[in-house]
Symmetry: C2
Subunit: 277 residues, 2 copies
């Protein structure tokens, strides 16, 4: 596999990350996962905007130029022959002797990118299973950092239970999935957690909100409870890789009839149509 | 600088961490900082025990053998000519294609260690300054992981304010420092947060609790409030590098008289005597 590293493309084996990279010592870095459909990047400009925001929130500078990064990724897509896949981009604060506070002078950020094939998950069509897990992550998950242990442990719980995703809750409030946003439908109205510091404002989440509005489906961005999740008519999750995945079962209990609901189908198909365009 | 990496000692420049190391992609690793005094490791067995616990909590296996690691560190201490310093040890889950859940089969953990000189901070004798910062970290800070962005941002706040440390609070409760534990004295009684999942149970914290008990000073491990912090007769912090550092000022406001108090002096000097032994 060939990867992009600080301005050049080289074999993965030739990339040497220093033990003093703050990404390694502190998780002091941010990332994006961008979908590749038909060899092209999907919603790239939104991902670059979010990457820039994450970097600003952590005072990591200078930002890598999106244009150059995108060109490098297109080269990788071509070289690796990727049709449907993902591009992974990570930027860390760079290398410096270990101290918690930002190094002064600031090191030069390290930029990594690679692409890989990624098939559409089967759960999009068959419906997925979830487990409910307490959200023990830090309180700035709106920044897309590589401090992901809370997400890792939640996803591991899902995997051990044979589920596709972990749905997280802080106390009574459902926040999001371990790597996705959560939507419910109740009485014809769609609810999802607002884009506060308690969730990562997914690109697919944003696109789905726009699709729902275009379809005239009423949507409320408001926190909802675990109880409301259990009582929902429909549940789905969104993410760059999961697209719109219906959730038909949580903790082995069916949601409503346990079948994929009409609003979920509508938005899933509308999203797939948007992708096809 | 020469470092230990997976069984051998080599120049820092020759260590190549893979972009697929889960320490880099998820902060999926743990660490220890061990004090070196007079060329010898201080309280090493307690650090090895905590490292083993951290690894177990994250199901990272197999654990590196403490004996071999300690021998490697002693070699580094000798090679680098360290008298007073620190040893840094980090173990990550290892390398695997990126997925949140633990890779199956489990990769082999990556083990890094290095040593460096570290002088005794001046604040131990002159008294240190702190700032009060909300604790936004995840809810398993009892595991000594490299998911340290919350600590990094807090320490940065302290540095920008010209302070030595950030004291963290979750709501009304004082938890600990960004890289230390916090003790207060009120009416001759010492209070510190109990060793729950809300704090990292510092080795120096443990040693200081034992010293206080040996000196007959009453100690209560119980959460205390921000209000109690402001009203304290004395405040100090403990850590492997800060030892027992008096805090004489918080947010530019003096604690009590703004001078180092008698219980603080007692425990600081008892700790220094323990180190000298």
């Amino acid at each position: 596999m060939r990867v992009y590293w600080n301005g050049s493309i080289k074999p993965l084996e030739d990339v040497r990350i220093s033990p003093l990279d703050r990404g390694y010592l502190f998780g002091d870095g941010v990332y994006e996962v961008i979908r590749i459909y038909g060899g092209r990047l999907f919603a790239a400009e939104r991902h670059w905007a979010r990457l820039a925001r994450s970097l600003r929130e952590l005072s990591i500078a200078p930002e890598p130029e999106a244009e150059g990064l995108e060109q490098a990724i297109m080269t990788l897509i071509h070289e690796e022959g990727i049709h449907d896949g993902i591009a992974y981009v990570q930027v860390t604060r760079g290398e410096a002797p270990r101290t918690h506070a930002f190094p002064n002078p600031a090191p030069w950020p390290n930029v990594l990118a690679y692409v890989q094939p990624y098939p559409r998950p089967e759960a999009i069509m068959r419906g997925g299973r979830a487990v409910l897990v307490p959200d023990i992550r830090w309180h700035r998950v709106d920044i897309k950092t590589v401090n992901l242990l809370g997400n890792v442990l939640a996803k591991q719980r899902a995997q051990e239970a044979g589920a596709d995703e972990a749905i997280l809750h802080r106390g009574e409030i459902v926040t999001e999935g371990s790597a996705s946003n959560v939507f419910i439908v109740r009485g014809g109205i769609v609810f999802t957690h607002p884009a506060t510091t308690a969730i990562l404002n997914g690109i697919t989440r944003q696109l789905v909100l726009e699709l729902l509005q275009a379809q005239g489906v009423p949507v409320v961005e408001r926190p909802f409870t675990v109880e409301a999740l259990w009582a929902a008519d429909e549940v789905w999750i969104t993410s760059t890789t999961a697209e719109v995945t219906p959730i038909v079962e949580i903790d082995r209990v069916p949601i409503a009839s346990g079948r994929i609901g009409p609003v979920t189908s509508l938005v899933r198909d509308a999203f797939m149509a948007a992708v096809a365009r």
